[in-house]
Amino acid sequence: MCKVESENITFECETGNYHTFCPISCVAWLYQKIEDSFFLVIGTKTCGYFLQNALGVMIFAEPRYAMAELEEPDISAQLNDYKELKRLCLQIKQDRNPSVIIWIGTCTTEIIKMDLEGMAPRLESEIDIPIVVARANGLDYAFTQGEDTVLAALVHRCPEMKQKTRNDFKGDSSADQRQNSIISVFSPKKHSKKECVVESHPPLVLFGSLPSTVTTQLTLELEKQGVHVSGWLPAQRYADLPVLNEEVYVCGVNPFLSRTATTLMRRRKCKLIGTPFPIGPDGTRAWIEKICSVFNIVPTGLEERENKIWEGLHDYLQLVKGKSVFFMGDNLLEVSLARFLMRCGMVVYEIGIPYMDKRFQAAELSLLEKTCKEVNSPMPRIIEKPDNYNQIQRIRELQPDLAITGMAHANPLEARGVSTKWSVEFTFAQIHGFTNARDILELVTRPLRRNQSLESLEWTKLVKSL
C-alpha cells in the first residue's frame, strides 16, 4: 500500500542537519499528563541546560522531573551506576513518593552503555516503586519521538487481563493498591455503564498523550457514534493504565507514535486501526469513520458535524486561502497539519519531517494524496531528515507566505521578511478533534493577522544585506 503512495507523493531524504528539540523534552508534557509519575533524566549538564531553558517557567513550579547529572567519575566508571541511581531514586521516593519513576536514557547513557533496562527491575524490587526505562536520546530520535519511546515502554506495564489484575490487587497488601480496588467497588454506576457498552464491540484503547480536556472531547465524539473507549495510554494516573491483550483494538491520535504502535501489535497482539490522525475536522472525521468501520458501525451525522465546523472556521479560511506554507520539519505533525491546511485552501510547498514511518502514517498519507486531488493542488514534496541550510535557500527562492519552523530560524526569517510560526506551539496547543480545529488556525493565522495589522508600515525587511 505504501508503495503505491510513494509513486505519487515524492519522498526525499537530505542530510539530517536540521534543528529540532531533543526528545527528552517529552518529560515536559508527560510529567503533567501522568500525575503520579516522576521523570528522572539520566544525562549530563547539556541535557539539563536544554530542559531548563526550553521549559522556562515550568522549572520553577517544583516539577516532577529532575536530572541525574552524570559527572566525570560516573563516565569513567569510578562510581557504581547502580548504587548512584539507587541513592537518587530513594531520595525521590522520600521527597515525592511517586507511583512510578520513569528513567529517561540519554545520549551519554547510550554511549557509555549504562544498562538501564538491566538495573531497573533490580532496583524496582529493592525500593518498591515501578521503574520504567525509555531511551529518548538525540542519537536515535527527534523531539516528539521522545513520547513514543516512553509510551512504548509503558505498554509493557499495562495489565493484560482485567480479571487477573483485580485478583492481584486483592492478594496484594500494599495500601494504595487496596485503595484502588475500594474505589472501584464504590463506583458501581460507572462500571455497569461500561460493561453494557463493552458488549457491543471489542475494547478500544487510544494511545497518545493529550491534555485531559482533549481526551474527554475525543472520547465523547466516539461515544456519540456508539463507540466506547475503554482506556487511554497514557492514563491520567500510572495505576490506571489500560488493559491490553489480543482482543483489544488500538488507535493512535498522533503521527509520531509508530514505535508504540509496533509494540502494541507485537508485544500485546493488539489490533491496530490505521487511520489519519484527528487533527483538523477532515482528519477527525476520517479518524472516527475508520474506527466505526472497523466495528461495523455506520456513523451518523458526521458529515453535517464536519461541515458545521468548517462553517465556523469561515473567517480564518478567508485569511489563509491561497496562501503558501513551508514546513521546515521538526515534530512529525507536519503531514497531518499540511493535509489540513491544504483542505483549508493553502498551498503547501514542502513538508519537512524528521522521520517518516510510511506504514504507520499510511492512512494519513493517502488522505493527503486524496486531499491534493480534491483541492486540485500539486503534490507537495516530503523531505525526510531535512537540511536546514538547503531549506533556507529554498525558502529564499519560493518566498512562502508562511514558514512553519523552529525557534532557531524564526527571528532571522522574520527579519528577512518571511512570516513564520513556531512549530513547537503545535505540540503544546490543543489541536485534536472537531472542537480544536479553530485553535490550529488561530496559530496559523497569527502571523498573517499580525501582518495585516502592521500592513501600513513599510519595515518588513530588517537586515542590512538584502
Binding site: G16, G48, E84, E110, N411
Partner: protein
C-alpha cells in the same frame, strides 16, 4: 551522580559557542547529537538576533556511534567553508563527543588543509569546566592562534598607537547587559581621552586580531571572561591590564585611577584631569552619590539584603549595597566555585556571611532563613523571592528574555550607577508597599469574584460539566464559563453538560 533540575552555569560548549558567535564571520560546528543545537534558539530568542546563528551541528547518530565520524566532520567543515566562507571555523566538542574520544584534532588538521578558512578545535573539557570557564579559555585560544600566526608570518606589528588606546576584553553575546555595558565603557574611555582599539569578541573581526597588541592597555570588565586572555597578552606582549569592574561609584573611580597609573607609567600626561573627572561624574553626572545621601536611601539604612550571582556582579553589588547605600548584606554568594577565593576576598567586610554554591536549593534555604527585605540575584532567586514574597532585583546571568531590554540599561560606568540605584530602590519600595498593603488589608479584596453575566441563576451545571470546567486553567475559566452560559441561554439549554461546553466552544462567536 547529582540530583538536579537547575543549574547556574551552562555546559562548556555553550561558552565556546558564545565566543564563536560573538565574533564576526566565525562559524562553529558542534560535534553533537540531534537536538544539542539549542544554543541557536537561545541566541535567536533571548538576544532577538536577526541573523542566523553561525552554529551548525555535525550530527552524531547511531552510525557515528558504530563506525566513528569518519568523513562526516571533515565534510561538514569543508561544506560550511564553501557555503558561508567564514574566516574561522571552530569545531566544538560536546559532552557526547568528548566521551566518544574520536581524534577530532585529526579531523581539524585534515579539514584545515582543504578549506580556505582557518579551522581550530576548541580545547575544553566538558566534565571539568563550565560555560564561563570554557568561554574564557576559548577566547584566549583564538587570540593566541591569530597572534602566533601573525608572528610566524612576520606581520605582527607591536608599535603602540600614537594616542593612548585600550582593548575591551570580554563583551559577549548572551552576556548579562553586555551590549549596554560596552556602550557605556566606550563612552567612559572616550571621556578620558582614550581610544578604543578593539572590543573583543562582540562584533570583532578575526582578521584584525593582530592589531590587538597596538593598544596601550586591556580593560577586562568582567571577572569571568577575558582574564586568561589579558594574562596571556601581558606575559607575551607586556600589555598591562585593568581588571577592576567599573560597577558602582567607588569601583568605577578605582578602575579609572588604575588606567591613569598605566598611562603615567607610559609617560603620558593626559589633558583630562582624571581626579577632576571622577569628582565631577560622581557628584553631578551620576545620581547615585546624591541618591545615597537622599532621604529615600536613608530609609534603606540597615535593611537586610541577600546577594547572589556570578562572581563579578555579586561582588560588585555587595560592595555597592554595603559601602554606597548603607544596606546590610546578610549574605553574599556566588556560583562561580572556581573563583571562590577571589570572591571571599572581595566581599570581606561587606557582608555577614559568604555562600559559595551552585545548588539553588541551598540558596533558597538560605534566603528563607534570613528573610531579607530584598534579594539581588539571578532569575532563580527572583523565583525564590516570588515564592517567599520577597522582591528581587536581577543582577546577573542566568537570565530570561526580560534581561535583554531594548532600552539602554548598562550596569557599568556612571550611567550604570544610576541604573543600579533605580533597581535597588524599586526593589525595596515594592517590598515596602507590599508590606503596608498587607498590614492595611490591601487595595481591594484578594479573591477575584468571577463576574457572571446573569444575576439570576437559571442555569444548571451538570456534575460532569462542572468537573470539566474545573480542569480548565484558572485564568481562562471565568471566560469559558461566561461563554458557555451565554451559549446555553441562547439555545435554551438549562443544564450545562460537557457536551454543551464543547458545543459552545465550537460556536464561533467567542
Amino acid at each position: 551522580m547529582k540530583l538536579a533540575y537547575w543549574m547556574y552555569a551552562g555546559p562548556a560548549h555553550i561558552g565556546t559557542l558564545r565566543v564563536a558567535s560573538s565574533f564576526k564571520n566565525v562559524h562553529a560546528i558542534m560535534h553533537a547529537p540531534l537536538g544539542d543545537d539549542y544554543f541557536n534558539v537561545m541566541r535567536s530568542m533571548l538576544e532577538r538576533e536577526r541573523d542566523f546563528t553561525p552554529v551548525t551541528a555535525s550530527i552524531v547518530d547511531r552510525h557515528v556511534l558504530a563506525r566513528g565520524s569518519q568523513e562526516k566532520v571533515v565534510e561538514n567543515i569543508t561544506r560550511k567553508d564553501k557555503q558561508e566562507k567564514p574566516d574561522l571555523i571552530i569545531l566544538t566538542p560536546t559532552c557526547t563527543s568528548s566521551i566518544l574520544q574520536e581524534d577530532l584534532q585529526n579531523f581539524v588538521n585534515r579539514a584545515a588543509s582543504e578549506s580556505k578558512s582557518d579551522v581550530i578545535l576548541a580545547d575544553v573539557n566538558h566534565y571539568r569546566v563550565n560555560e564561563l570557564q570554557a568561554a574564557d579559555r576559548t577566547l584566549e585560544q583564538i587570540i593566541r592562534f591569530y597572534l602566533k600566526k601573525a608572528q610566524k608570518s612576520g606581520t605582527l606589528d607591536c608599535t603602540k598607537t600614537e594616542k593612548p588606546s585600550a582593548n575591551i576584553l570580554g563583551i559577549f553575546t548572551l552576556g548579562f547587559h553586555n551590549q549596554h555595558d560596552s556602550r557605556e565603557l566606550k563612552r567612559l574611555l572616550n571621556d578620558l581621552g582614550i581610544q578604543i582599539n578593539q572590543i573583543i569578541p562582540e562584533g570583532g573581526s578575526i582578521l584584525n586580531l593582530h592589531n590587538l597588541v597596538k593598544a596601550w592597555l586591556n580593560l577586562v570588565p568582567y571577572r569571568e571572561i577575558g582574564l586568561i586572555t589579558a594574562n596571556y597578552l601581558k606575559k607575551e606582549f607586556n600589555m598591562p591590564y585593568v581588571s577592576i569592574t567599573p560597577m558602582g561609584v567607588v569601583d568605577t573611580a578605582e578602575c579609572i585611577r588604575e588606567i591613569d597609573v598605566i598611562l603615567k607609567n607610559n609617560n603620558y600626561t593626559s589633558n583630562v584631569n582624571f581626579e577632576q573627572y571622577i569628582d565631577h561624574q560622581t557628584r553631578f553626572v551620576s545620581q547615585a552619590a546624591w541618591f545615597s545621601r537622599s532621604i529615600d536611601c536613608q530609609n534603606l539604612t540597615g535593611k537586610k539584603a541577600v546577594v547572589f550571582g556570578d562572581a563579578t556582579h555579586a561582588a560588585s553589588m555587595t560592595k555597592i549595597l554595603a559601602r554606597e547605600m548603607g544596606i546590610r548584606v546578610s549574605c553574599a554568594g556566588t556560583y562561580c566555585k572556581h573563583d571562590a577565593d577571589w570572591f571571599r576576598e572581595q566581599v570581606q567586610g561587606f557582608c555577614d556571611q559568604v555562600l559559595i554554591t551552585d545548588d539553588h536549593t541551598q540558596v533558597g534555604d538560605m534566603i528563607a532563613q534570613i528573610e531579607p527585605s530584598a534579594i539581588f540575584g539571578t532569575q532563580m532567586e527572583r523565583h525564590i523571592g516570588k515564592r517567599l514574597d520577597i522582591p528581587c532585583g536581577v543582577i546577573s546571568a542566568p537570565v530570561h528574555i526580560q534581561n535583554f531590554p531594548l532600552g539602554y540599561r548598562p550596569f557599568l560606568g556612571y550611567e550604570g550607577t544610576n541604573q543600579i540605584a533605580d533597581l535597588v530602590y524599586n526593589s525595596f519600595t515594592l517590598g515596602m508597599e507590599d508590606h503596608l498593603l498587607e498590614i492595611f488589608g490591601g487595595h481591594d479584596t484578594k479573591q477575584v469574584i468571577t463576574k457572571s453575566l446573569s444575576t439570576d441563576s437559571d442555569l444548571n451545571w451538570a456534575p460532569d460539566g462542572l468537573a470539566e470546567l474545573n480542569k480548565i486553567p484558572g485564568f481562562v475559566r471565568g471566560k469559558i464559563k461566561r461563554n458557555t452560559e451565554k451559549f446555553a441561554r441562547e439555545k435554551n439549554i438549562n443544564e450545562i453538560t460537557v457536551e454543551v461546553m464543547y458545543a459552545a466552544k465550537e460556536a464561533v462567536e467567542t
